[in-house]
Symmetry: C3
Subunit: 419 residues, 3 copies
């Protein structure tokens, strides 16, 4: 009997570690996606950002973020408490005495959560690509992962007021994706568009990404990682009902992405006459974001449709943002923000416990909090150290300016060929 409890604890913990490792892998996905969608001269810098933001996110979340988001004792449903630095794990006695309430390693919960923070932050890095100062980005990263993200995370997943008021967000269309996109939007508005992106007469100049295989690889990595992202968010697998649930989450996650690809591809073909690869990739990601708020209650057919609607939305959103001269080189605000909102609303389609009111309340709260808090932080950074590289540095590429090296020194013919 005790052995069964122990074995069950081990299985659930292992399930957490495997799914958490898959989410960590998403960091590589964002790095590849974003480095594929920027120009060659800005590639090393965005790679640096992606490696560094993951590292900073892990450290900040360990030092304070996790305690804010999941406080041992909260002050109120609006304001968490600060408990203590990451300590020991569950004792065998506590596990056995808990009657099943303590069913996996507490440290495994930290591992799973910490990789989520990095995901939210990765969303920002793409939107501000090709023109932001590297260390300004790092400073923002500290505030975002140590405070802004954990606060709104507490309101939902930590048991705060959004949770108490019936807002539903299974794996984070809102808490992770909309949050990241809102912070990105604030940064983009303060940062301005890349030079040459919008002509004097309002025309939009396409700036093609330098490396499509990387962008595609990144999308596949994210797709794979999302099985961990959504699949691990069920938090338990060790009995028949839960194993079935986790499985359904895997299937629905996969089908939503498939629906997103097909829908975005058809829309792009109808609009542009060409089957634009980047739209197919954004369609996949949109399908994934759309299903993230509720991957458990839809049938696979409905999941496909929810994903497909996400795929349609993302194409029109990207076009619209460009009309508004909001310059997002990788489409992150559309994929994670606009479609994140759709995901939150789509919960009402299949989950009887969801209400449109509660979903909208969550949506607005997450957006407003993150946007305003981020805007203030960006603004202070701008005042103190500046947000944007110089025009000359932007022209030359941020790789040389910020990293002192080139991503592809032999391919673009600009320098260092052939040494």
């Amino acid at each position: 009997m005790e052995q069964i409890t122990e074995l069950s604890y081990a299985l659930d913990t292992f399930y957490f570690l495997v799914t958490g490792a898959l989410v960590m892998w998403m960091a590589a996905g964002f790095a590849m996606l974003e480095s594929g969608l920027v120009r060659a001269k800005n590639t090393a810098e965005i790679l640096t950002k992606n490696v560094a933001l993951y590292a900073i996110a892990c450290i900040m979340y360990m030092i304070m973020g996790y305690d804010i988001m999941y406080p041992a004792e909260a002050v109120s449903r609006w304001w968490p408490g600060i408990s203590f630095l990451l300590g020991g794990d569950n004792s065998l006695e506590d596990v056995l005495a808990s009657g099943g309430d303590i069913y996996y390693s507490g440290m495994a919960d930290f591992f799973f959560q910490v990789v989520f923070v990095a995901t939210a932050m990765s969303i920002v890095s793409g939107a501000v690509a090709e023109r932001m100062k590297l260390w300004s980005f790092f400073i923002f990263c500290i505030f975002m992962t140590g405070f802004i993200y954990p606060m709104q995370g507490y309101w939902k997943w930590g048991g705060g007021f959004l949770d108490a008021n019936g807002f539903l967000d299974f794996a984070g269309s809102g808490v992770v994706h909309l949050c990241g996109a809102s912070a990105a939007l604030a940064g983009v508005l303060l940062l301005g568009a890349r030079k040459g992106k919008y002509g004097p007469n309002g025309e939009v100049q396409p700036i093609p990404g330098a490396n499509m295989p990387l962008a595609t690889l990144g999308t596949f990595i994210l797709w794979l990682g999302w099985f961990g992202f959504n699949g691990g968010s069920e938090l338990i697998i060790s009995n028949v009902a839960e194993a079935n649930n986790v499985t359904l989450v895997f299937v629905n996650t996969n089908m939503a992405a498939a629906g997103g690809v097909v829908a975005a591809m058809i829309v792009a073909r109808l609009l542009f006459g060409k089957t634009d690869l980047t739209m197919a990739l954004n369609g996949a990601l949109a399908g994934l974001v759309a299903i993230t708020a509720e991957p458990l209650t839809p049938t696979p057919l409905l999941a496909t449709i929810i994903g497909a609607i996400g795929g349609v939305l993302v194409v029109f959103s990207i076009i619209t943002l460009d009309k508004l001269k909001i310059d997002d080189p990788v489409g992150a605000i559309s994929v994670h923000g606009v479609v994140g909102m759709w995901g939150l609303i789509a919960v009402v389609l299949s989950n009887g416990d969801a209400t449109l009111g509660a979903q909208l309340m969550g949506l607005v709260t997450i957006f407003l909090w993150t946007f305003v808090a981020s805007f203030i932080v960006w603004l202070v950074i701008k005042a103190v150290m500046g947000l944007r590289v110089s025009e000359e540095e932007e022209y030359e590429g941020v790789d040389l300016a910020e990293c002192g090296l080139e991503a592809y020194p032999e391919f673009t013919g600009s320098k260092g060929s052939g040494i």
Copy 2:
């Protein structure tokens, strides 16, 4: 006792999800492999094909393929029935009452199977690269994943006549790899060779792939994914004997690939005087395909040898197909078709239940069915919308013609450099 049953169910289901996720990851492997082996100007299109075929395969297999392949009630061993759209999962009562017969989530079986279909279809995309119309490929994909693949899958894994007659194919050297290669061959024959591949006097013009690191990455991804492909095909892991079996499958899969690399590398060195990387990669894949029909009964040493023979075969097969002017840019027909046949035959080396007759019956059936059915579908598509892009489009690259963008706009010097 019931708890043990539940826990066991959970472990087997989790094992299915993990191995299924690894197979899904193979879609990324094929995308990278194929995009590395084509020319830069045709890269975005093959990436689009790979993302889209995975999405289409998932949707078609959900809507009808799975029901054909694993019908609730079959009409006969030649013809499956159509049951119903993907429904609910096993209830706890049914699991407990089954006495161990129902030991994992039915939906997890769907998840595992659906990623296999995509694998079969990925084989086709490489062989027809650099000259096929994108949407003609998509149409074929619908038929292949919704009907052609599931039918022959039913004959073996669904309990059809091949299974009843003693044909053995553990994880699909035949059902997946030979099937994919047969469909590819039909397409290639109708499509013709790429312009310039074969000179007027029969000389073969090498057309080198644009990006060897991608091809290598793709091979490593496939190698990793194959642990899921073969390892998951044992279908159960929850007791000592089965855990040992799954482990042996992992080890043999790995050793066969290793044998394939070394053998192909030596043969290439002897034939060409150079250690051709693409042959080493094809050797790895050949080893993997060769062991797929029976990764459980050989010793690791025999598995290495079976893989090595696959590695030798693939080099000669690639040379031979070129002599026959069958233009397969990535060697897919050799790797998956020729070596798939070897894999089916090699079953008799270690599995006492196998007979050469039954293996050949399966081999011929799968090849004939898939080739003929595919040929007809390709032929109809050719008549209705055409298979091949125009000469000018082929010269310019299918990326611009079909996708309206370039995979590497700054590297090849043709366009858009430096914006």
Copy 3:
């Protein structure tokens, strides 16, 4: 009761297979890292080396390495016995009769160990890049993976004299990483620096890598794989205490890498005025190597610090080796050797069972054995077939000389453009 034992065996075996698969994935990581850090003209060759060394390592370790490292009956603690070729697995009877001593598949242990050998060998390939003859490398690989590595592995993990004398090395900062780096150093000293790397007046000429996204991808792959590398080295997960342990290992591994990134990035910025991406990547790897000798006893905060010190060390080590004109194109000797030593010493910071004396004894033993044995093997190879390609081949690139193809035929403008 027996069912619980069986289920527990299955879970531990599955845990081994999953973590082993992650370690296998590190082979792809090294391939991408190294191919990103060399010049375009030497890329296909290093890819070939990485695929081939993995295959050779698997075969040699199966044929003899595993038996040396984990002999059924050892001759002494200095000299193992040779037992027999890889045979069957544990019987159910033995498992049940063992009272928990036999708790996972013996073949799974082989699978886990075999991927470690390949890791050690991968370290060598990077350091000797861009100038070594391919088949000379292969010959060395045979001796390294079949004998040199297994001998010192036996001394620690096989129960030899290092283990008996209290030397601690959880997952191989010494047995794997320092070992690989020591073999690399011997090779590099005999091989000499690349042409043009060090000027006549002692100045160091930077030779930038051709593809930073690949190097970054490789680092992320290694980071992910390291969860398997360290996480699997706990060897058991099936009860509460062990599940907690494995989790802590995952968390500490992640935090050490994060600490390494941030520290290396700051040091690079201070030293060079630029945020050098390659230093950030080396910082991540240094953090991972540093924590590998003891990822279980530190708190996550201490793990972060241990990793950060590794990140500082690696930057200074790379600079110092260049001053000593030891030419290591990818920094492998610094990352795995210098930081591997730091990892071994850092064990005393958190593990009360460790003594500085025992750690230094292990460190010196592993280094001396591997360096001397490797030096002799390299020397013999040099005498018999030569180590280094001709000057002309080096100038032209080893890709054409050794592999007969180019990694990027269309990007560098040298040949074959546009066919």
